[in-house]
């Protein structure tokens, strides 16, 4: 087994953890952090593949993903603030109506 594979397995493990966090944690901030974990697991995978195949494309993708992740957390946090105003909490199980 080579290093590349270990890195891919690590990425997969991190991704799974992220998914579990997104699905299981009730706190919306934790959910957002889970999403960060997902994105970064993907980034790790991309960088590893890029290195393995000696191509720069994967690393470029990672730059985009990081930019998107930053934008996403800005939007996500502002939604979170609104959520708190409307429901008085940031627990996901309380926000079950689509009405703003």
């Amino acid at each position: 087994m080579t290093n590349e594979l270990y890195i891919q397995l690590l990425a997969a493990f991190l991704f799974t953890m992220g998914v579990l966090v997104v699905l299981l944690r009730r706190d919306t901030i934790m959910v957002l952090m889970g999403i960060e974990l997902l994105l970064n697991a993907a980034n790790l995978s991309l960088v590893a593949f890029s290195k393995t195949n000696s191509m720069i494309d994967g690393q470029l993708q990672v730059l985009f993903v990081i930019a998107l992740a930053a934008a996403e957390s800005a939007v996500g946090l502002s939604i979170l603030v609104n959520l708190y105003r409307n429901f008085g909490s940031i627990k996901t199980q309380n926000a079950t109506t689509l009405k703003g």
Partner: protein, 660 residues
């Protein structure tokens, strides 16, 4: 054969003219005046009469073109447009007036005009005369289409059209349930017959690949074609004949016609004399080369005809309603026509059709005049002695009665005698059919005499009020009566038989010569140089019977109403006859009740539980699925996320399976 086809617009114009009348009375005037009720009776009647008269005039022109032609089988022909053209089925909308349909066109439009004219006065005080006249015009349009259409679908179009119009006209007074039901009965019974007609038509198309009448009749001259269709020809003929029994009120489908009497009297005259009921006879005469191929079918036709003639004639003798007597008389006379067709004397059937149109229209319009005079009374037991109050009606009706009874030298004598003679002299003839015919002829004379006697001669039995109002009908009604009386008296001279023709200075049998190219006259083996005696014996015998029966009937029923009044032992027979052999009740038990039961079952059980159950069950099922799925729609973000994950995994699995 020398065939000449003249292209001309005349048939189309003849056809369209009553349709214009229908549009004016049925659409234009009601739209303009906002409703049928506001049309002036004289205006409506005037338009309607004018347009059918226009048809008659153009019919005369077309007829003169036929007589003017030197060829043996001339026809005036219009190709209007291609109606159907797909899958080998090619049906042009084409109209054709040849020697047979020419006669029918003249009868329909001519007698029709008189009936329209008469209606203008007869229906003057009714409501919605505009509606009445529009239907009347539409009726004539359909009938003209029926006789002029040069292929079976067109003929069927007209055939259905007259069925529809008879429904509309019989049920004209639709607020009266009984009358509306009579209309429905006519419609439903006719549908049964139409099914037979359709089947016959389809079979014919399968065998010959064409539905054009001219093509059918030409193809049947080819021996190879004949050999090909021989196996199914009996079936085709019988199916077509079922259609004819419906329209022409023969056993077993005659029951609608007597009930149809509840419509306005001129309608009865139109249906019975000039149009609808003769359609069956016309159709068989038209397709005579086809029917010639099936001796079995012809035998059936002859028997049904003869039996119907006797059967209806015997019912007629026990009726008290003047119009019912005439209705059964029509059924009986149509039976005569089918008897003639059945023994192969098609041109004789057409001859009788023509004379019948004259005298039956006359009798119906006369009875209408009587009913009109008696303030709507139709029961003959409440009439009597009307001769001195209604001299014109009496005189014309007497001529009609003499004609239908077959008194010598009136029109009915010639045609009926010819039928009787054909039924024994032609190869298809059978001696007992001849005897049935003779018996029916005697019955006809008796019940006609009875009708005249009860109405005009016996002592007065009217109620005081009716008597007070008695009046002769206006000129607009008596004029058509006189015209028809003239035709009924002298119409028979178009078909003077050989024997008499020789004595009267070689007067030819005009009609059978005229029809010969379309409806070939059969050679009568017993006629001719060798044995003129037979024809003379039949003729003399039937004259004696007719005269004796008619005047016997008149004399007998001056004092009594029913034969059972004289011979008390006949009371059960009388009861049986006046209840029309309980046929309606029988049909009620055999056909109507089971259908009602099935309907009740279908409505009560099948519809309620099966159909409603299926529909409601479907609704309930969807709701149950919905309420189950609703539990999933929690709005909880993470549940959705889990489902998405599940979906993604499934798709991934699928892709993995496909790719690897």
């Amino acid at each position: 054969m020398n065939v000449e086809t003249m292209n001309s617009l005349l048939p189309l114009l003849i056809l369209i003219s009553p349709l214009i009348g229908f549009m004016i009375n049925g659409v234009v005037l009601p739209l303009k005046l906002k409703g049928f009720a506001k049309t002036d009776p004289n205006v409506a009647g005037g338009f309607a009469t004018f347009f059918i008269f226009l048809s008659f005039v153009m019919g005369c022109i077309a007829f003169s073109q036929l007589t003017g032609s030197t060829s043996e089988n001339p026809a005036v022909y219009t190709y209007v447009f291609q109606w159907f053209d797909f899958g080998g089925l090619n049906i042009p909308f084409e109209l054709r007036i040849d020697k047979l349909s020419g006669i029918l066109v003249l009868i329909i439009s001519g007698v029709g005009t008189l009936i329209h004219l008469y209606s203008t006065s007869y229906m003057h005080d009714e409501e919605c005369v505009g509606r009445y006249f529009s239907y009347l015009n539409l009726f004539c349009f359909c009938m003209l289409l029926l006789v002029m259409g040069n292929n079976l679908p067109l003929l069927f179009f007209g055939w259905e059209g007259v069925g529809l119009c008879s429904y509309l006209l019989i049920g004209f007074w639709y607020t009266d349930t009984e009358k509306a039901n009579a209309g429905k009965k006519a419609f439903v019974v006719n549908r049964v017959g139409d099914l037979g007609f359709l089947i016959g038509m389809f079979l014919l198309f399968r065998e010959l690949g064409t539905l054009s009448l001219t093509e059918i009749n030409t193809m049947l001259a080819d021996p190879t074609v004949v050999a090909r269709i021989m196996p199914s020809v009996t079936l085709i003929c019988l199916a077509l004949f079922v259609g004819a029994t419906g329209k022409s009120a023969q056993i077993p489908l005659y029951v609608w016609l007597p009930d149809a009497m509840s419509g306005p009297t001129p309608v009865s005259a139109l249906i019975h004399a000039a149009t609808m009921v003769t359609a069956g006879v016309y159709m068989i005469a038209r397709l005579n080369p086809l029917f010639e191929l099936s001796p079995v079918a012809l035998e059936v036709i002859a028997h049904v005809g003869a039996f119907t003639a006797l059967f209806a004639g015997s019912i007629a003798i026990a009726q008290t309603d003047i119009k019912k007597v005439l209705a059964y008389s029509t059924v009986s006379q149509l039976g005569f026509m089918f008897l003639a067709c059945g023994v192969g004397a098609y041109q004789t059937a057409v001859f009788h059709l023509m004379t019948h149109a004259f005298f039956k229209a006359l009798l119906f319009l006369g009875s209408g005049s009587v009913i009109h005079a008696c303030s709507g009374e139709q029961d003959m037991t409440k009439m009597g002695g009307l001769k001195k109050y209604l001299p014109h009606t009496h005189f014309t009706m007497l001529i009609g009665s003499l004609a239908i009874s077959g008194i010598p030298f009136f029109s009915g004598f010639f045609s009926k005698d010819e039928i009787l003679y054909s039924s024994i002299a032609l190869p298809g003839g059978v001696s007992y059919l001849f005897l049935v015919g003779v018996l029916t002829a005697a019955l006809t004379a008796i019940y006609t005499g009875r009708m005249m006697s009860l109405t005009f001669y016996s002592e007065e039995r009217m109620s005081h009020d009716v008597k007070h109002h008695l009046h002769e009908s206006p000129a607009l009604m008596t004029f058509p009566l006189y015209v028809l009386a003239f035709l009924a008296a002298f119409g028979g001279f178009l078909g003077v038989p050989h024997l008499l023709g020789d004595y009267l200075g070689h007067m030819p049998h005009f009609l059978s010569h005229w029809l010969a190219p379309v409806v070939p006259a059969k050679h009568l083996p017993l006629v001719g140089v060798k044995m003129p005696l037979h024809e003379g014996v039949v003729m003399a015998g039937s004259s004696v019977i007719a005269i004796a029966s008619f005047f016997g009937g008149v004399a007998l029923f001056k004092k009594i109403t029913f034969i059972s009044d004289l011979v008390s032992g006949l009371a059960p027979v009388q009861k049986l006859l006046s209840n029309k052999y309980y046929i309606d009740e029988l049909y009620g038990v055999i056909v109507v009740n089971p259908v009602k039961k099935i309907s009740a079952f279908a409505a009560g059980i099948v519809d309620k539980y099966v159909v409603d159950g299926a529909v409601n069950g479907l609704g309930r099922g969807v709701r149950a699925v919905g309420s189950t799925l609703r539990a999933v729609q929690t709005g909880d973000l993470q549940t959705y996320g889990l489902m998405m994950l599940g979906g993604v995994l499934l798709v991934a699995l699928f892709i993995f399976k496909v790719l690897v």
